[in-house]
């Protein structure tokens, strides 16, 4: 095998497995669809958290926007204005296939536009903060968005709203959503890979390592930071739109699940290894598979377990799986190792 084909092999294998999944495991399609969503979550979080050093706890904001906007578009698109005025959001809407897909596509497009716009506006302000302040400010943003959605009557406030029912056959529904999530995750992976491989990746890594120096080198840091956050928002809005329609019912806890998805995306990225492209993919897969297998046996204690897991991973394994592999086999990661220096570590730092 040549070097090139060996590099392509994982992509081909994962791609084929992803495409063939509906044939191999038709009963687990929804879980597999969510696996792709988790991968997308971890990748988008890592774009800011791992590669740029801006640890956001509020990326769930974009997911929530993505959930609500397509449902609102679907609700308004095929109704007469008089009928629309009386809509409360509670009733089931039946659409034809064409109506459903046109409405959904339009909704997703609008969701992406809104999410990116919100990301750009908020980001240009919030991304000026650093460290603690950025983390906690985004935490506030995520929760505030959920609270506003919970109070806003136009989108059903506390009682939530319904996305239209999928009009095709019952078998086609999971397949459609599976491929949708698969497509989004693959798009996300290759977009990020492409972004990391060029100037953009170098710039955001420079921001992570030393923002002041990066700025002094002439990098427009705010510009890069905002673009990175908007890219996260772009893909999270897509994932949110698909999840809202898959779930049919949307309320605050579905659209802004800060305590589950919001924390998981951080945890998965750290578990796999921050600042790498494969780390989040591995972390998300390990996390999702473990939780699907074991979570149900914990009978409600799973959230306690999640908290413990966060503490343990963060305190004891902050480097994650990829970081551990890298420490074990640095040569595989293209690092040259000075054996003598490794054997006798000397530290001159203060401690």
């Amino acid at each position: 095998m040549t070097h090139r084909t060996r590099h392509l092999l994982p992509y081909v294998l994962i791609g084929l497995a992803g495409l063939a999944a509906p044939l191999i495991a038709p009963t687990y399609l929804v879980q597999l669809a969510l696996l792709w969503m988790m991968i997308l979550f971890a990748l988008t979080w890592d774009l800011c958290g791992g590669q740029m050093g801006y640890n956001s706890f509020g990326n769930i904001l974009f997911f929530g926007i993505g959930c609500y906007v397509p449902a609102v578009v679907q609700r308004g698109l095929y109704r007469h204005i008089a009928e629309y005025a009386t809509v409360t959001g509670g009733e089931v809407q039946k659409l034809t296939l064409t109506q459903y897909f046109t409405g959904f596509a339009l909704g997703l497009a609008l969701a992406v536009v809104i999410a990116v716009a919100v990301g750009a506006i908020l980001g240009s302000g919030i991304l000026g903060m650093r460290g603690h302040y950025f983390a906690i400010c985004t935490l506030g943003v995520g929760i505030a968005a959920g609270e506003i959605a919970n109070g806003w009557e136009y989108i059903g406030s506390g009682s939530g709203m319904l996305a239209p029912i999928y009009p095709g056959t019952a078998n086609a529904r999971p397949i459609f959503f599976y491929y949708l999530f698969f497509l989004f995750a693959v798009m996300c992976f290759f977009t990020l890979k492409w972004m990391y491989s060029g100037r953009f990746g170098l710039a955001i890594n420079a921001i992570r390592d030393d923002e002041d120096k990066a700025e002094a080198m002439g990098i427009h840091t705010t510009h890069y930071k905002t673009v990175a956050w908007c890219v996260s928002g772009f893909f999270l809005a897509l994932a949110g739109g698909a999840f809202g329609h898959l779930n049919n019912f949307i309320d605050r806890d579905v659209a802004f699940p800060g305590a589950t998805f919001g924390v998981w995306m951080v945890l998965m990225a750290i578990l796999g290894g921050k600042g790498t492209i494969w780390g989040p993919v591995i972390g998300a897969t390990v996390f999702h598979v473990t939780q699907e297998f074991f979570w149900t046996y914990l009978f409600g204690w799973q959230r306690v377990a999640l908290g413990l897991l966060i503490v343990i991973i963060v305190v004891f394994f902050p480097l994650g799986i990829m970081g551990w592999l890298r420490e074990q086999w640095p040569e595989k990661f293209g690092e040259t190792v000075d054996v003598a220096a490794r054997a006798a570590p000397v530290s001159l730092g203060d401690s």
Partner: protein
């Protein structure tokens, strides 16, 4: 919303009621915020589990008052003591490992702790809203237009007294001096013979105890449930950001102001938006502060 504003204009006495209620809540925020500033200043850790300490302190009082029949006001020291132990244990288990680590690890680790405590409370005590009756009466002012439950007055005074006691303790006691020395320069303090590890443990435990006492006051005057923690954490953070790390007077004024602002917002926008207002206010305050600093080519960090 406009109706509510007009109502305030027509009946100004309502504003007095809102203001009084807000100030009473604010005093309790001040306790939690002071604890957060203490841990932040001394250990350079932002404790996301702050609100969970408040919540657990509330449950200590709730159970002592309802199960053991002790008057809730007498259980404040018990709540503080229980949380002091919890804080000490948490420090010995987790926190001491993250004191020297970068801030992201400490935020995420305390975030994990907050989830554990919150979910444990949910599993063990149930998700219901709880309150402990103090059995005190209500004071009436201005022909009954302004009502103030006596327990709120008591808790307001208790909160301020606790804050003052803490201030004196930090100022005059031997341990308080060690804590302040460590906050100024941990390395120099070590050289001068201060056992900084013990100081950190005491600081963290002391903070938990303050929050526990605050929670005990919360359950008597308002209510508690397992999920109220994060709101208290973010309020504390907001107060410390506005007041600055070293200023106790600033903390008191910011807390009282926040309590009043929140109460007015809850009345004008409707209670369903009160929480949204608090969290949005946090974002707005941080943005404004950062904008101020950015004009001097500085930023929040």
């Amino acid at each position: 919303m406009i109706d509510n504003l007009l109502l305030l204009y027509d009946a100004p006495i309502l504003s007095v009621q809102l203001l009084v209620d807000g100030l009473m809540i604010g005093a309790i925020f001040a306790l939690a915020a002071y604890g957060m500033a203490l841990v932040w200043g001394v250990m350079d850790i932002i404790n996301i589990a702050q609100g969970e300490f408040v919540m657990l302190g509330g449950y200590v009082t709730f159970f002592l008052a309802t199960r053991a029949g002790i008057h809730p006001l007498l259980t404040v020291p018990a709540a503080a003591a229980a949380l002091f132990i919890l804080g000490w244990v948490l420090y010995r288990l987790v926190i001491f490992r993250i004191v020297d680590q970068d801030m992201f690890i400490s935020i995420l680790a305390t975030f994990g702790i907050s989830i554990v405590l919150q979910q444990l409370a949910n599993e063990l005590f149930g998700a219901d809203v709880q309150t402990a009756e103090s059995g005190l009466g209500t004071l009436f002012f201005a022909d009954g237009m302004v009502t103030v439950p006596e327990i709120k007055v008591v808790s307001f005074v208790a909160a301020l007294a606790l804050g003052a006691a803490l201030f004196v303790f930090l100022r005059n006691s031997r341990l308080g001096q060690a804590i302040r020395a460590t906050a100024q320069n941990a390395r120099a303090a070590r050289i001068m013979g201060v056992n900084t590890d013990r100081v950190y443990a005491m600081t963290f435990a002391l903070n938990a105890a303050i929050c526990g006492a605050a929670g005990s006051l919360v359950v008597m005057t308002w209510l508690i449930h397992p999920y109220l923690g994060l709101a208290y954490t973010l309020r504390s953070f907001m107060i410390v950001v506005v007041a600055g790390l070293g200023s106790i007077v600033g903390v008191i004024f910011a807390s009282l102001g926040l309590g009043a602002a929140e109460n007015f917002a809850g009345f004008i926008l409707g209670t369903e938006y009160q929480a949204a207002f608090v969290f949005s206010l946090l974002v707005v305050i941080l943005l404004l502060r950062n904008f101020q600093l950015s004009r001097q080519r500085k930023h929040l960090k």
